[in-house]
């Protein structure tokens, strides 16, 4: 099987070379498989004959379905924009991992097998932990666009991400909310059966300790829970100045609604899972005063972001969320990595991703550090009159 595929791609590569009558003398050190993806020139002048295949495995259905749809929109919009530029064309394939690690694994196996140059996704961290080893073993670069748990990029040297970790966003969120609300005594709640929310909780607890805040009580729930009244009553009895919650949006909405019903009107400060406009549509007035740290400032006026907001609204008739922005930025980053070596092959993209420094994107100026994690400024938002505003 492997030999067949190899011969086939090599033959296709040879054919492409013959047709274009153009010998490639740079960036061709990838091995035969990706021959047609090596081009000439560099940066804006780079021309690659073949289409660079980009595979995305995101959760279009299931618990994380609302995130995945935004991601698909962001990726498709970015691909359209990139393909309008001269030189390099991307062939984007978006598949649904159904918020199921098993499904993600089989999608990753598919992408590794069909010559895809880079894999984007999957949407959730605990899915990523199970699917990424497939790509690492198959030596295909992965760019995570929404995974915020610690340890995602530690799985191997082929794994990169453009999403800030909880470890980067939460300390800024905690520090800014402590200052803005003058917090002294808080309650922490988190779902303890999900990798993402658990790692979020650990950072939260650490930052609260660093700020010398008293944690009156720590309450756990399951990510499938929908009735939080018993926990919230417990929280209320502690008379906190604020409640910190690490949970997914599915839990966030009933939790916030029920808290307000019980008369808990203190600020609720959420992790990345709360960072979703659905919170305001479904929880309504109850969402007022919820504070969320985010990797993307929707109100930012940098030129990349302004253009993105306009194009997204024109295309999808609604405002983008952070997941769409991170997905869009991923394509910008990949494009930069491809054009740098002017090669759409797996090895070349991997090398290019390692050299991203101060690249302007919709997320702001982004760099990828030696741990293959993205670094850029976070923003702390608060829900006011049904939409996110910057906390100050």
């Amino acid at each position: 099987m492997r030999t067949n595929l190899f011969t086939l791609t090599a033959a296709a590569g040879a054919l492409a070379l013959t047709l274009t009558a153009c010998g490639s003398d740079d960036g061709g050190g990838d091995g035969g498989g990706d021959g047609s993806l090596a081009g000439e020139g560099s940066g804006d002048a780079c021309v690659i004959e073949g289409e660079v295949p980009v595979g995305a495995a995101v959760s279009l259905t299931g618990a994380a379905g609302s995130y995945g749809e935004s991601q698909r929109n962001g990726l498709e919009l970015a691909t359209t924009h990139l393909n309008e530029q001269e030189g390099v064309t991307y062939a984007l394939t978006v598949e649904d991992d159904q918020t199921d690690p098993k499904q993600a694994i089989s999608l990753f196996e598919g992408f590794v097998g069909d010559g895809t140059s880079i894999i984007i996704g999957p949407t959730l961290s605990n899915t990523a932990f199970q699917a990424q080893p497939i790509a690492q073993e198959g030596e295909v670069p992965v760019l995570a666009i929404s995974n915020t748990a610690e340890g995602i990029t530690e799985q191997g040297d082929w794994i990169f991400r453009d999403s800030l970790t909880e470890g980067q966003v939460i300390p800024q969120t905690v520090a800014q909310s402590v200052e803005a609300f003058g917090l002294e005594n808080v309650v922490v709640m988190y779902s303890n059966d999900d990798a993402f929310t658990e790692s979020g909780y650990e950072v939260m607890a650490e930052s609260l300790e660093g700020e010398d805040i008293t944690v009156a009580s720590t309450l756990t729930f399951s990510k499938a829970d929908t009735d939080f009244r018993a926990l919230l009553t417990e929280a209320k009895n502690a008379e906190p100045d604020a409640i910190f919650v690490s949970g997914l949006i599915e839990a966030a909405i009933p939790l916030v609604t029920q808290a307000r019903e019980l008369g808990l009107d203190v600020p609720i400060i959420g992790g990345n899972g709360f960072n979703n406009p659905q919170l305001m549509t479904d929880a309504g007035d109850a969402a007022e005063g919820v504070v969320v740290g985010a990797a993307w400032n929707s109100a930012s006026d940098n030129p990349e972001n302004a253009a993105f907001l306009e194009a997204y609204e024109a295309e999808y008739d609604k405002a983008p969320d952070q997941f769409a922005a991170q997905a869009y930025a991923a394509m910008t980053i990949i494009d930069h990595a491809v054009r740098e070596g002017c090669d759409g092959g797996r090895e070349a993209i991997k090398a290019g991703l390692g050299n991203i420094t101060d690249l302007p994107t919709v997320l702001g100026s982004i760099s990828i550090n030696e741990n293959r994690d993205a670094e850029h400024d976070a923003v702390v938002q608060v829900v006011e009159d049904g939409s996110f505003a910057v906390l100050n």
Binding site: T61, G62, A63, G65, S66, Q98, N192, L219, T220, F221, A224, T226, D227, R229, A230, L231, T233, E234, K236, E250, I253, P254, T257, Q258, E261, L262, G263, T281, D282, A283, G284, D285
Partner: protein, 291 residues
């Protein structure tokens, strides 16, 4: 006080769900595992009625009750009646009802997709009462009242009415009931309809209580329903009521006094303890089976 009320509200829903479960078991000696699916279906139907038809949440409840009743008849017709003459009818019915439950959920997924659904944000009255320092919403009061009224009505129905006598006769001995001129098939079907109608109302109330409906919500409550009817005494209606409230309270007080991570362990542990002390359940009579 707040915790006590929290426990009562969730317990009332458990009880209403379990009482439908136990009715079919008590009268017909069959375990209907499509019951949790009815619970989920009705929650989605309720949301659809509010969202698309624009009905008030109170008006959806009688409709959901009827929908549940119809589903109950379908369950009886499809999953139980064709198999009733088999010597292994207990297990065959149990398994075919699981299959039917799978089909209901698949249909739900086809119609609504796998995402969590919610009532529109403004469909609930926002009034809250303060009872002994505890915050209570209109919906929660309604849940408690509706559950209790339905359960009392059912108990009266079984004890007093002609249909109830028919049910008890069938429960005692189907063949003898037939000899006495009771239409056993009709009684059986009515029992299923009532049971599912109660399960359906429980589903809609649950969805209102937490404002979310998921495809898996039936599976989540199935285990609790089974635990409740075993602890209450299989087939005992007051047993299901007390068992349901007990489980709701046990969960809440486990959170308060022991810790939220221990909730399920403590709640189910307590039920297990009751079974060790009273193997027949709280209200179950020890049955002597004639062979």
């Amino acid at each position: 006080m707040q915790q006590l009320l929290n426990g009562l509200f969730i317990g009332a829903i458990y009880a209403l769900f379990a009482i439908g479960f136990t009715l079919v078991f008590g009268v017909l000696d069959r375990l209907n595992l499509a019951h949790p699916a009815v619970f989920a279906v009705s929650a989605f139907v309720g949301i659809e009625l509010v969202e698309v038809a624009g009905l008030s949440i109170w008006l959806t409840l009688p409709i959901v009750f009827v929908v549940g009743g119809i589903l109950g008849m379908v369950i009886e017709r499809v999953a139980f009646r064709p198999l009733k003459d088999r010597p292994d009818a207990h297990f065959a019915g149990l398994i075919s009802s699981i299959a039917l439950a799978g089909m209901f959920i698949a249909l739900l997924q086809w119609r609504y997709g796998p995402d969590t659904r919610r009532f529109p944000a403004d469909s609930f009255p926002s009034t809250t009462f303060t009872v002994f320092g505890a915050q209570v919403t209109v919906v929660q009061v309604a849940i408690l009242v509706i559950s209790v009224v339905l359960m009392v009505a059912l108990t009266v129905l079984v004890a007093r009415s002609r249909l109830g006598r028919g049910m008890r006769a069938v429960a005692e001995n189907p063949t003898a009931a037939r000899v006495l001129g009771i239409n056993v098939d009709r009684v059986t079907m009515t029992t299923f309809a009532i049971s599912s109608a109660l399960g359906a109302v429980a589903g809609a109330l649950f969805a209102m209580n937490v404002n979310s409906a998921q495809l898996t919500m039936g599976t989540a409550i199935e285990l609790k329903g089974l635990a409740v009817i075993i602890v209450g005494g299989m087939g005992s209606l007051p047993g299901a009521l007390v068992g349901g409230l007990l489980l709701g309270l046990a969960e809440v007080f486990a959170v308060q006094y022991i810790g939220s991570s221990w909730r399920d362990l403590v709640a189910f542990g307590l039920l297990f303890l009751i079974l060790l002390v009273r193997p027949q359940g709280l209200f179950g009579a020890r049955k002597v089976r004639e062979v």
